[in-house]
Symmetry: C2
Subunit: 356 residues, 2 copies
């Protein structure tokens, strides 16, 4: 199996990508080759600097880079020779089975949807972003690829997220919920209420490859067995960033407090491992990346500030998605699925409930 790596993507490119590739090649024999895509001279130097001499690592030149602040979609149209474009093109041409990128998320999504196109039965791709959960990880789907989703997109996400949780994360029967402003069925927006109807229909007609929990709330992300949390991409992105920001703020405030008195400094020293363990648990490095589900090819999007460990884990995740045939399984599951038409008018007429 060949994986294309956007070696110029991310805040710490190219070194973390090169080291991540080196470590993945030594650890995961199912990866037969990693194609490092980016400026040839820069990558050759980085390989030399980081002792990547494995012949299974090959450089493919790309003269441009999409910067983190650029509009992803526009950049893909303009920069035809960007590393993410060239890496995705390799998957399109069958020269690689997966692409991993820690670069501009919008660009990775745009490159994938434009070049690879969608799987049969899929209307919109979605990003599944993991959040640490008492029972494993809860994957927020969609975390930003499709900001204004329709109910049928959420229904497809349920199927795709469940295949992914099953085949890559090893969850035997994934649990799916819809993020809402209350657990009661009358809570939510037109979108979540329509999605609730579709998901219940899937369960009732025997077409659900998951257990359905109905509406879920913030605390379910962490405390409940919940493998896939369905949202439109706007809500998912906002929730994900808010959770990350809360964890960061809590850590910052605690660190500040721990410096206030000599006793506390000593206490912090004695307890250092505790913070480290929680940090590891909440760290994106451990998860590697977020798959973009629904495109013809395997696409793993890693955090912009990925370390070499995160890249290594993202490459591992990509290899598992390819090896365990996530995409063929998604197409098979969607083939059997027909969704009823939900009447938005009947839903819209019921005034939304405020939260309790």
């Amino acid at each position: 199996m060949i994986i294309a790596l956007d070696a110029m993507g991310g805040d710490n490119a190219p070194d973390v990508n090169v080291i991540g590739a080196r470590d993945a090649l030594s650890l995961y024999p199912q990866i037969s080759e990693i194609v490092l895509v980016g400026d040839k001279a820069t990558l050759s130097e980085s390989c030399a600097r980081n002792s990547l001499t494995d012949p299974r690592a090959r450089i493919v030149h790309a003269s441009e880079v999409v910067e983190m602040h650029e509009s992803g979609a526009k950049a893909i149209r303009r920069k035809k020779d960007s590393s993410i474009s060239v890496a995705t093109e390799l998957v399109k041409q069958g020269a690689a089975q997966a692409v991993v990128s820690a670069g501009n998320t919008g660009a990775a999504v745009a490159a994938a949807t434009i070049k690879l196109r969608l799987l049969k039965g899929v209307d919109r791709a979605g990003i599944a972003s993991p959040i640490p959960n008492e029972y494993g990880t809860c994957n927020i789907l969609d975390a930003g690829a499709n900001p204004e989703a329709k109910a049928k997109h959420l229904a497809t996400y349920a199927v795709m997220g469940s295949v992914y949780a099953n085949k890559v994360l090893g969850v035997s029967r994934p649990v799916v919920g819809i993020m809402s402003n209350g657990e009661e069925e009358e809570k939510g927006t037109v979108l979540t209420k329509e999605a609730l109807i579709l998901l219940k229909h899937m369960v009732d007609s025997g077409h659900a490859n998951f257990d359905f929990r109905g509406n879920v709330e913030g605390h379910d992300l962490f405390e409940t067995r919940l493998d896939v949390c369905l949202c439109d991409g706007f809500t998912g992105n906002v929730v994900l960033k808010s959770c990350e920001a809360t964890a960061k703020a809590m850590s910052k405030w605690l660190k500040k407090e721990f410096k206030r008195t000599p006793f506390r400094v000593l206490g912090a020293l004695l307890s250092k491992g505790a913070f480290g363990n929680v940090k590891e648990r909440t760290n994106y490095e451990t998860y590697g990346g977020s798959p973009l589900l629904g495109v013809r090819g395997t696409v793993i999007i890693s955090h912009g500030s990925s370390t070499s460990l995160a890249i290594r884990n993202a490459l591992h995740m990509a290899s598992k998605a390819v090896k365990n045939e996530v995409n063929p399984q998604i197409e098979a599951a969607l083939h059997a699925l027909t969704l009823p038409r939900v009447n938005p008018a009947s839903e819209k007429s019921s005034k939304p409930e405020s939260n309790s």
Copy 2:
């Protein structure tokens, strides 16, 4: 000034309400009377048990209670003699200027919007819920009263939230932002893009009683000077609960780690004050409650698990909102405001951008 207290509302009713009222009466001379609304016998007993003998505390009987799990709007229609209904009725009749409730949020919102009606110039009420921020608090507005908001509602929220931040929280020139899936102007949904146009128009035409920061993201809730974060009530509610859940999960995981080894137990003992200080900072008790802005009367909604300290602070907050004339100032600010018609079609035609 007379404040009606839904003395039967909340998980720890009635005692925390009675103690909160007792302490507020002894601390805040601007409160001339607190009306405890609820079952007379129960409240009399609680007053005796908690040494509330102040003649400025008066009981008004209400035979019913809206339970936390009930649908708020339905309960208000059905339970005419519920404590929150009777308390809100007192404000309607001018027998009190404010109502404070730690009971069912949906019921408090329904009672207020049905009985008190909206301020002149206001189409929808909104809940402003505080989040601790490096610079004070960031108020999520709306946190759940109006799940499917329109852009003009967000524009009105900006004005109302700024008056509140100025008059109650003492912020001289509030900073307002729109929660979105990226800071760039092309990010967001039809709703946030339309709101962005309206808010910029308010700034350009000199009708903004705030500084406008444009789109904001999760980290801005904690790290940036941001007094009011505008969202539809669905997004606000989901973000608020997700942030609370993240903080809770982090605390839980840290506590667990601190019990793992004797060294860590000792470290935790030495550092105990540090956790306490962060807890205090992130604790809703400190803030007291969330105002429901836009209704004719002052309504403060407190957390269901409020302690007596939270109730005391909520009563204080209510008294400040009345004393500093938040509602007349909101009406004055909205009187001068005319919003342009935004063309949703022109916005909708631009395909939403995925996140970066």
